[in-house]
């Protein structure tokens, strides 16, 4: 049902690794380490600044892909992969977008399972990719029928 959007991309959106949001996010995963939140510790560190936790890119805006409308309920998160060239620096600007990498179907014991693989990118101001995030989302037969597609 999503085969036609394979390869489609969203437009790049500017995001800022915002200090207050990094703090709130770190707290919510029980990881208020000084490297994330203490400015002096950040300055003294090898990165010269505070950094963000590796799963932080969930909070960024990646824009919308035309023709890709997912339900907000019932999706199963199957797999998640991050790749980093370096940690994200607090205060930096990143340009983020998303791409449909793959879509496939498998017959399972509860009917047809659909797998949607999306890949998100975060680039620095010069256009270097700093991180990527790949997610596999599983759409079960029940959810697919509710979508009426």
């Amino acid at each position: 049902m999503f085969r036609q959007v394979i390869g489609e991309e969203s437009k790049k959106i500017k995001n800022v690794v915002e200090k207050g949001i990094v703090k709130r996010f770190s707290e919510s995963i029980g990881d208020l380490h000084p490297i994330y939140v203490d400015e002096e510790v950040g300055r003294q560190s090898r990165y010269g600044r505070n950094i963000a936790p590796p799963t932080f890119p969930r909070v960024f805006d990646y824009g919308e892909i035309e023709g890709l409308h997912l339900p907000n309920k019932g999706l199963i998160h199957g797999e998640q992969i991050y790749h980093y060239e370096r940690p994200l620096l607090v205060g930096e600007e990143l340009y983020c977008y998303t791409q449909v990498k793959d879509y496939y179907e498998k017959e399972g014991k509860n009917g047809l399972m659909c797998f949607l693989v999306t890949k998100r990118y975060g680039e620095d101001v010069q256009g270097n990719v700093i991180f990527t995030e790949e997610a596999t989302i599983i759409i079960t037969e029940k959810v697919r029928k509710a979508m009426e597609v």
Binding site: I21, R24, F25, E27, S28, I29, G30, D31, H33, I35, Y36, S45, R46, Y47, I51, P53, P54, T55, R58, V59, N72, K73, G74, I76, H77, G78, E79, Q80, I81, Y82, H83, Y84, E85, R86, P87
Partner: protein, 136 residues
């Protein structure tokens, strides 16, 4: 705390057992991640989805698991972090975070990582490649 670079294949990081999962944990994560899927916070919505109760965001558990490595950022950083969501985490579950070295090279360490519940069942599992940075 020993240095990561001194670890050998088969060595484990000191595991962390989290406090039992509370509703407030999940409300806070929903707010910070902007993932407001109601199966994580609203009992009725979880029941409607056929679940025995609200479940933790998989990404909450994945976020927690990474903190085993947070003390080591002066040695390097998590370059690759791959996770498969293998089971659900319910309210009051006690999750333990684990990492074991599976391979090492001159500039990186590979770990098997997982989070297990109080029944010793993996709820998420995967691998981390920790890139070692040279001292300047």
């Amino acid at each position: 705390m020993s240095k990561l670079v001194e670890l050998q294949t088969g060595d484990r990081l000191e595991q962390i057992t989290l406090s039992p999962v509370s509703r407030m944990d999940l409300i806070k994560y929903a707010g910070s991640s902007l993932d407001f899927n109601p199966i994580h916070t609203v009992d009725e919505e979880a029941a409607k989805a056929g679940l025995p109760g609200i479940i933790a965001h998989g990404m909450w558990t994945m976020g927690n698991l990474a903190k085993l490595f947070t003390p080591y950022y002066e040695e390097g950083f998590i370059q690759d972090y791959q996770i498969r969501f293998a089971g659900m985490v319910f309210l009051n579950d006690t999750v333990t975070l684990q990492a074991e070295v599976t391979d090492r090279a001159s500039d990186n360490l590979l770990f098997d990582v997982k989070a297990v519940n109080q029944h010793d069942k993996s709820v998420i599992k995967g691998s981390i490649k920790f890139k070692l940075l040279k001292d300047e």
